[in-house]
Point group: D2
Chain length 359, copies 4
């Protein structure tokens, strides 16, 4: 319940920013799935720092070692242990932080809760922890690929710059073609410029990531506390810096009436049933209805500023903080693969759980 | 995982709209807590239909019978079984719905997932299910009361009508003094008028519920997948009709820079440490920091309209639907106690879990 | 984890001996299974007191009310709430026990753990709690019936009287034809006589229940901590008065060599693979191998004696205890359906979990 | 649920006999505990092969690398990742086993369940998996040490040779002074001789391990499905080759009457309450009562024989098997630290859980 996520397909993770590495155990991976190690590493590369001028300059190779659960290129149904060793560590950068609480970071709350903390680079609270999510998400995607379920996330908003329209107006695969991961190159450029400006000021900026799950069969999710949107919300809000989640029309549709939001059922071309619209976001009564699932995740401007901030030490003494280190001015581009990974974990988990509904 | 929620303090619920009743089991209630049955019933009364002209006209007494786990007025540490019998049932109202899929309801997805469904009043997907949440939440509140932790929710938005400012501008206890449960009587009146108008049109409307947790000690929540905001988001998105969640500045703060959102630490008057502002919403690094926790939940306009809608039968035949029954045009007022209940469950659960961090 | 058992098929129970009743929630029951209410009640009747001269004279009808999860005679996949109201209560019998710790009962440990306890009839520690297990087990059996998996338990030993040979020497269905539930009528008679003698002395006696699962497909169980025998052992040792568990040759085969215990694989008649012997008890490497699963559960002589015993009060004062009430001198006959129920819960649970091993 | 064990203190393990290594994640380790790495390695050394002439001749250093959750010599409350790399692998020894099902091994059931398996050295079903248990158990012991709770296991029986009397007749610490781990040197010698004889015949032999938990406070365990004995039974039966469990008088006391088994309460010297005897084995009503907890675990003669056995291939063809490799003729000596480790995990887990019973 602490460092595990998922019911049937389940990730248990460990690791700190400046310890030996980041890793975990993936339990419940279906047996017999081909393991495409290049794909897994490619997913990690999408997350790693230093991949573009927009992200932190830290260079971390983030190579994953798969330790178990695979035999002759296929998953065996046994738990998959994995480890990504930490490399480019400058622990000394952090020595003066040992007794200082950085504003809006986890330093104060960890110290209060545990009575001690690894202060180097945020320790367990570092976003390096998301490496384990990306690895597990990559395995989930390998399974979902066989079910023709695809998941794409993209940067929808940076600061006040919004991608206009809806996800259906774009070819989402284009998002990977620019550093911001926005499917519209013009908007992406404006976003990139904004991030650069903010970075130059030693400041940071937030935004919104959109995510779409296509090809999801009907019936995933559980009616009561395990509603599909509840599992997704849990997954997304557990990502560092996430501040909000909505799906379907979400917060944006609150000015509408029920008659404007309801999705009317109609016969489809194959003699089945579909809906005329998809304002519900692909989920009704907590269960997927076969339409595209789409949701949004809000990310705050990250707390680490490259400018002076006043704060206090762990003894309550005033302290003037000047973050050094190398940091992202905007996490959105690198959070895109993390959002996808968590979505993949949820969808595969619910897919497997759904198999137990009938004898 | 399906009909249970919580790790240590844990509700398992059952029941359908038109079955024998709604009930559940509360496991992990701390021992020795005085059981104020009047308070529990009062919480249920805040949720029940027919309490005001704004809500559905259905009259349901919703009296709770406590079946176990209590001895001579105190909790024993044993599981608390409870049952609220269904009363005012008009199953025949629903007979013609047996083969019809109501738009944006759970009918279609349940039928697809399970191969059969109790079509009467939505069955398990009915919001009557939230009765069990309110009962468990009332028990949680009884425990939290001893810790001086209080939870208040209120209607913050209906359609396009927003309560201006922040929660700190209002005496939230005033929310209970009007039918809308908005702490500002003038805004409440405007909201009530809007709901009445929408109702008169046979339509529905959504909005936002705000919630504030006060007196929460530092350190509640777990760093990784069990972040306090992730548990809250899961809880809130599992409520019927909820479409979104954010906390702190959330979606609204995305135009700001990090330097505008960071909460600077300062010494407090008692020699401790506090923050100058609370834009974080009382949670940092996934753990409560001792400040007020505040979050918002978006609710869609409910799907049941009292006007004609076109849809299909379970065989794909076109069908013209005219909902009868008695329904809320806006769930916000009655969802307020449900939001509080789920928040209370999460906070107590995390409080108990946090006791296991040290030997 | 406290009052829940099972992963996918999951019972959460509540209730005390002298409270309103005993009940629970069955979550994860597969959808679409026909509910044979007569069978469920018949299973309860096998457990209820007063069914024969060998068991306690208490008369309890133990009628179960099914509260949810069933529609037009079939399970809906939604949680099944149920309640068996307590009837024949003589709470006054227990008033003098309020401050007394009965030897080898739960009085002392409950008081120490919780700081208070319902002293009437043992409260939550009463074997009446097993009612909920029998109800859930009956539902599990209804599902297993469709898979041609059958479970039979029987009294194998009372005091020093053992049923000779192995389970294969008997028609286990004959066990239901006598009060002891031993499949050999001559042995049953000797056991019955011993129980009567012990009862006449105001004393109690223990023994062993054997249980056989037939028709179980290969592959149920999970390799590591979820080995099938581990799940069964957990289930059995959670039954009141159970003191031991073994399977296959168990404790009895310890004088043998590996060469005497190994089950050699041979081709079977249908071109498949079987084993020449089944000393393993139907489980290898923690997984069912398609052979009969057989195991034993040891039950101690129950602690409630109808004779004087010295003890102390909750203030440590000496007290001379003379149990009144009406009690079993030997729990074995009534524990037989409880052992079957718990076995059925485990097997169905593992059957459902096993469906998630492949995509 | 598959490769995780424990509720609050929770081990998730991974690894196969001939893969990269064996490891896991320990979640819920209390914060601030000093980490004695020498002790952890010493516990592993008690389990490792090649430690005496009685055990397998395989030489494996089994050095553990601690990857996270520790800072400046203390636990941080964050998950502890660990890895023991496999070293002395002779995979080629197993090449001819690729299509052969070894009698009473997991080969057949794994193949059936998963459709593929790592045949080298038993893969995940190898007893090397218990390395992760010993590491987690060592951490648990470090915490229990601070609570003055000690756990000692010992070989109580090998084949037909039994240690006479009860555990109270011996200084259990002497068990570590001989290769068999039996606290009586004369009995140990006889056991060692028997094991050598059996080994010379290419055969194997089983036995019983006794275990005693001292200093356990009252109230650990949960009344219903989480009874302390149920958790212990689950833990023990999940160990490779374990076939039975009992506690207190267990299977041996079944000839006695209740009046012979009941433990009468008496005042103790400090004004508290104790029991005159401890036939219950330190647990009453599922909860520890402050007396010594003692239980036994039966282990079968291991299935790997160094003599010819007939079996079949995965295509059902007859095959004459001659195991080579290097194997234990009796697992008891090396299983002693595994039993202790699992007991330590259960006791610490329940200790932490018990903290949540009161506010």
């Amino acid at each position: 319940m602490r460092n595990s996520f998922g019911h049937i397909f389940r990730l248990t993770s460990f690791g700190e920013s400046h310890g030996a590495g980041i890793g975990g155990v993936i339990d419940g991976m279906p047996a017999g799935i081909e393991v495409d190690t290049d794909f897994i590493q490619a997913e990690l590369n999408r997350r790693r720092p230093g991949q573009s001028r927009l992200t932190t300059a830290r260079q971390e190779a983030d190579e994953v070692e798969l330790l178990s659960g695979i035999f002759e290129g296929r998953t065996t149904g046994q738990p998959i242990g994995f480890l990504v060793r930490n490399a480019d560590q400058r622990s000394s950068d952090y020595e003066e932080m040992r007794h200082v609480f950085r504003p809006s970071h986890a330093d104060f709350t960890y110290q209060t809760k545990y009575g001690l903390r690894d202060h180097r680079g945020g320790g367990r609270s570092s976003a390096r922890e998301t490496i384990s999510r990306v690895v597990a998400g990559a395995f989930a995607k390998l399974a979902l690929r066989q079910l023709d379920i695809t998941i794409v996330a993209y940067t929808q908003r940076v600061g006040d710059i919004l991608l206009p329209g809806t996800y259906e107006d774009y070819d989402l695969d284009l998002a990977e073609q620019n550093d911001v991961r926005c499917p519209d190159s013009a908007t992406a450029e404006r976003m990139a410029r904004l991030i650069s400006e903010v970075k130059a000021e030693g400041d940071t900026i937030g935004g919104v990531i959109g995510c779409v799950v296509r090809g999801c069969p009907t019936g995933l999710g559980e009616p009561c506390f395990g509603k599909l949107q509840a599992e997704l919300a849990h997954a997304m809000l557990s990502i560092n810096a996430a501040k909000g989640f909505d799906y379907g029309m979400g917060f944006d549709g609150l000015g509408q009436r029920g008659s404007e939001q309801n999705d009317l059922f109609i016969p489809d071309e194959d003699g089945g049933i579909t809906t005329r619209t998809n304002r519900s976001g692909g989920i009704q009564g907590g269960l997927s209805n076969g339409q595209d699932i789409y949701f949004r995740v809000a990310f705050k401007p990250v707390a680490t500023l490259l400018r002076e901030q006043s704060t206090v030490t762990d003894e309550g003494e005033p302290f003037l903080l000047k973050a050094r280190g190398r940091h992202d001015a905007c996490v959105l581009p690198r959070a895109v693969p993390v959002v996808e990974a968590m979505a993949a974990i949820v969808v595969l988990d619910q897919y497997l759980l759904n198999k137990t509904v009938h004898l």
